[in-house]
């Protein structure tokens, strides 16, 4: 399905990542946004508030992030494509509803413009410290999808992708921006609406008497209806059966929860996206994402100039994690270097998949600014020297 031309600002723009994210949401067909101001994400909802009245959307500034994160779930069951936007402290408050969204298979998009934490931390300065929280922050077992843009253009493109994946898999999709990408202004091309591919909601179209709200299709994802369609649905955060009724038993748990994880796990190859540069012939591969993937470039260039064979693998989808690809690289004996704006998060995922076959070097940074490329260069170089 193609995008609704209403609201698609086709053309070349000079936008920051936050505003590009707002435009991506509008292009994707998002028409309900609930949010609460928090630096450095606020510009996303400011632009939504500005633009929504004339494109048929409703924006509401809720009383806190807890309210925002569940208002969008109500909005999704009311039939809209929905989003909320926040940063670290607000993201922490939203965790319970990421769990509710996963449990009730509610399509929705959470945007986290990461700043340095923990707690209030450095509100106006970047970090990538919420990557593990994105994956594991709510209690219990579930799966989500998380995307990592590294430019305003990607903030636009990946916001659309986030909505499409949310609808495809009926899952919360997390757009893991960072302060740099959010506040960086660059050229953003918004294509004509007819060139924007949109995934519509998977509305049930079978006979009404056969309808079961949580009966999955072959890809483990159940089709959906909305409130008011006459199906008299019941949606609960309790463990439930295919009808949606609470079922307080290990049997029901064993049927439901693995499916919630498997619908992402077994479709991971279709979901995972990364970009590689000169990985094949490389001895060392830098694995990076978000702003750090750009900071790593001068380090990689410098090392290549000195004759070191360095490849670059940039994660676009961080969760589900490209386990197989890391395993392949490790099997080929490529040393791995992981710079990130935290003290080790995605690093552990890379290390786990390297199975101890190759050295995996973390280039940590507590956030507040980006790495000095020299730190990444030094890490590459020390591997070369067997360090």
């Amino acid at each position: 399905m193609k995008a609704d031309p209403k609201g698609v600002l086709t053309g070349a723009h000079f936008l920051d990542g936050d505003h590009a994210c707002s435009e991506g949401a509008i292009s994707a067909g998002c028409r309900f946004v609930a949010g609460y101001p928090i630096t450095p994400s606020t510009e996303v909802v400011e632009r939504i508030a500005e633009r929504f009245p004339l494109v048929g959307g409703v924006f509401i500034q809720m009383e806190d992030e807890i309210a925002s994160s569940i208002a969008i779930l109500g909005g999704a069951w009311g039939g809209k494509k929905v989003m909320t936007v926040t940063s670290g402290p607000g993201f922490s408050l939203m965790m319970e509803h990421i769990g509710l969204a996963a449990m009730t298979e509610t399509p929705c998009v959470f945007v986290d413009v990461q700043r340095a934490g923990p707690s209030t931390g450095l509100p106006t300065q970047p970090a990538q410290g919420d990557m593990m929280q994105a994956r594991w922050g709510s209690h219990g077992d579930y799966a989500i999808i998380a995307l990592c843009p590294n430019s305003p253009q990607e903030c636009y493109d990946l916001t659309i992708k986030a909505f499409n994946l949310a609808e495809q898999y009926r899952v919360p999709v997390l757009l893991m921006m960072d302060e740099c990408v959010g506040h960086m202004t660059e050229r953003v091309i918004i294509p004509p609406a007819e060139e924007i591919e949109i995934t519509p909601r998977r509305f049930y179209d079978g006979p009404k008497e056969d309808f079961l709200l949580f009966k999955p299709d072959a890809d483990l994802v159940p089709p959906m209806v909305k409130a008011g369609d006459g199906y008299r649905i019941h949606v609960t955060g309790l463990t439930h059966d295919e009808k949606g009724y609470p079922h307080m038993s290990p049997t029901a748990q064993a049927k439901l929860i693995p499916r919630l994880v498997n619908k992402i796990k077994l479709n991971a190859d279709k979901i995972i996206e990364y970009k590689e540069d000169q990985v094949e012939g490389a001895d060392v591969v830098v694995v990076s994402y978000g702003i750090t993937s750009r900071v790593a470039l001068p380090a990689i260039e410098q090392a290549r100039k000195e004759g070191i064979k360095v490849g670059h693998l940039r994660l676009i989808v961080a969760w589900p994690f490209p386990e197989k690809r890391i395993q392949e690289l490790a099997a080929k004996g490529k040393a791995l270097v992981v710079p990130e704006l935290n003290l080790g998060q995605i690093f552990y995922e890379v290390e786990r998949n390297a199975y101890g076959k190759v050295p995996v070097t973390l280039v940590p940074h507590p956030g507040g600014t980006v790495h000095n490329p020299k730190e990444i260069y030094n890490a590459i170089k020390s591997i070369r020297h067997g360090g």
Binding site: P53, V58, I72, G74, G75, H97, G228, I233, V235, T236
Partner: protein, 296 residues
């Protein structure tokens, strides 16, 4: 032979018995419910069903949202589009549901702890915004599901598991709170006042804007037992003997003391444009013809 005939006869009698009129509003395939014998929540649900029956509403367009707790289970028993959300958050869920699909009549049905402790912030803001929804709070003065802890509605001197020496915190006066925040319809009844309550629910459902009903209900297992107030029936007798109907009273005076006088009635019934009306009017003024009124 005779026995078999009698059984057949009995079976036939059962088949032809008229259904309880409330049954069509319930998910009978989920019965029996989890509530204790002589708990008041079921009585309020019965009143809700009766109110729906005469409301003239299209039941496919009525959605019910609950939080967590004993009353939080109401959504799961009603044969409507029903949402059992997280603790304290049915109102913001209902906010999103209503704004996304304004043709729905959205009812929030939850308990005092859910709506006024963990969810208190959402209540005051939804009332302030005058979102078009009905909030029914079953107030049993205590946390039931978790085993009888003190609530923001527990009267002074009543005991609870987390106030074993008696409560000394001042409880909320819920009608006063609701009115102060801007609710357009506010009433309080008890599980004893089934006809008044049914009428109040019907009025609240017909009201455009944020309507609020507090229903006092017995919790025989925890509140009554801990405070030696007898069983549910004893509490109903108490409600009957100690309630005083005072419509339109200044809600400030509608406080509740431990086993004291209970002022019930319809306290507020006024007009104020609801959130979406205000939004549409505002943007029409601002943008003129460029703005298409939002209908969902």
């Amino acid at each position: 032979m005779k026995g078999v005939e009698m059984e057949d006869q009995m079976y036939e009698i059962e088949e032809t018995m008229p259904l309880n009129p409330v049954e069509s509003f319930l998910r009978m395939d989920r019965m029996p419910h989890i509530w204790c014998p002589s708990c008041g929540i079921g009585t309020t649900v019965n009143c809700f069903g009766r109110a729906l029956e005469t409301s003239g509403l299209d039941m496919d367009k009525v959605a019910i949202v609950s939080g967590i707790g004993c009353t939080g289970r109401v959504a799961g028993y009603l044969n409507l589009d029903s949402f059992h959300t997280t603790h304290g958050r049915p109102i913001p869920f209902a906010t999103g549901l209503k704004l996304a699909n304004p043709e729905l009549k959205v009812v929030v049905y939850s308990g005092d702890g859910d709506l006024f402790a963990i969810g208190g912030n959402h209540f005051i803001h939804a009332a302030r915004r005058n979102l078009d929804m009905t909030v029914i709070c079953v107030n049993n003065f205590i946390y039931g599901m978790t085993g009888g802890q003190v609530a923001p509605t527990t009267p002074i001197s009543a005991t609870a598991t987390t106030a074993p020496h008696g409560n000394f915190e001042q409880p909320f006066n819920l009608p006063y709170l609701a009115e102060s925040c801007g609710a357009v319809y506010v009433a309080r009844w008890t599980a004893y006042h089934v006809r008044y309550l049914t009428k109040a629910i019907k009025e609240a459902l017909a009201k455009k804007g944020f309507s609020f009903i507090e229903v006092l209900a017995p919790c025989p297992t925890l509140y009554s037992r801990r405070n030696k107030l007898g069983d549910g029936l004893d509490q109903m007798v108490f409600y009957k003997e100690h309630s005083e109907i005072q419509h339109n009273i200044d809600t400030k005076t509608a406080t509740l003391d431990f086993q004291g006088k209970i002022i019930v009635g319809k306290f507020v019934d006024k007009e104020r444009p609801d959130y979406l009306t205000l939004m549409n009017e505002h943007y029409q003024k601002k943008f003129g013809d460029k703005y298409t009124p939002y209908k969902g």
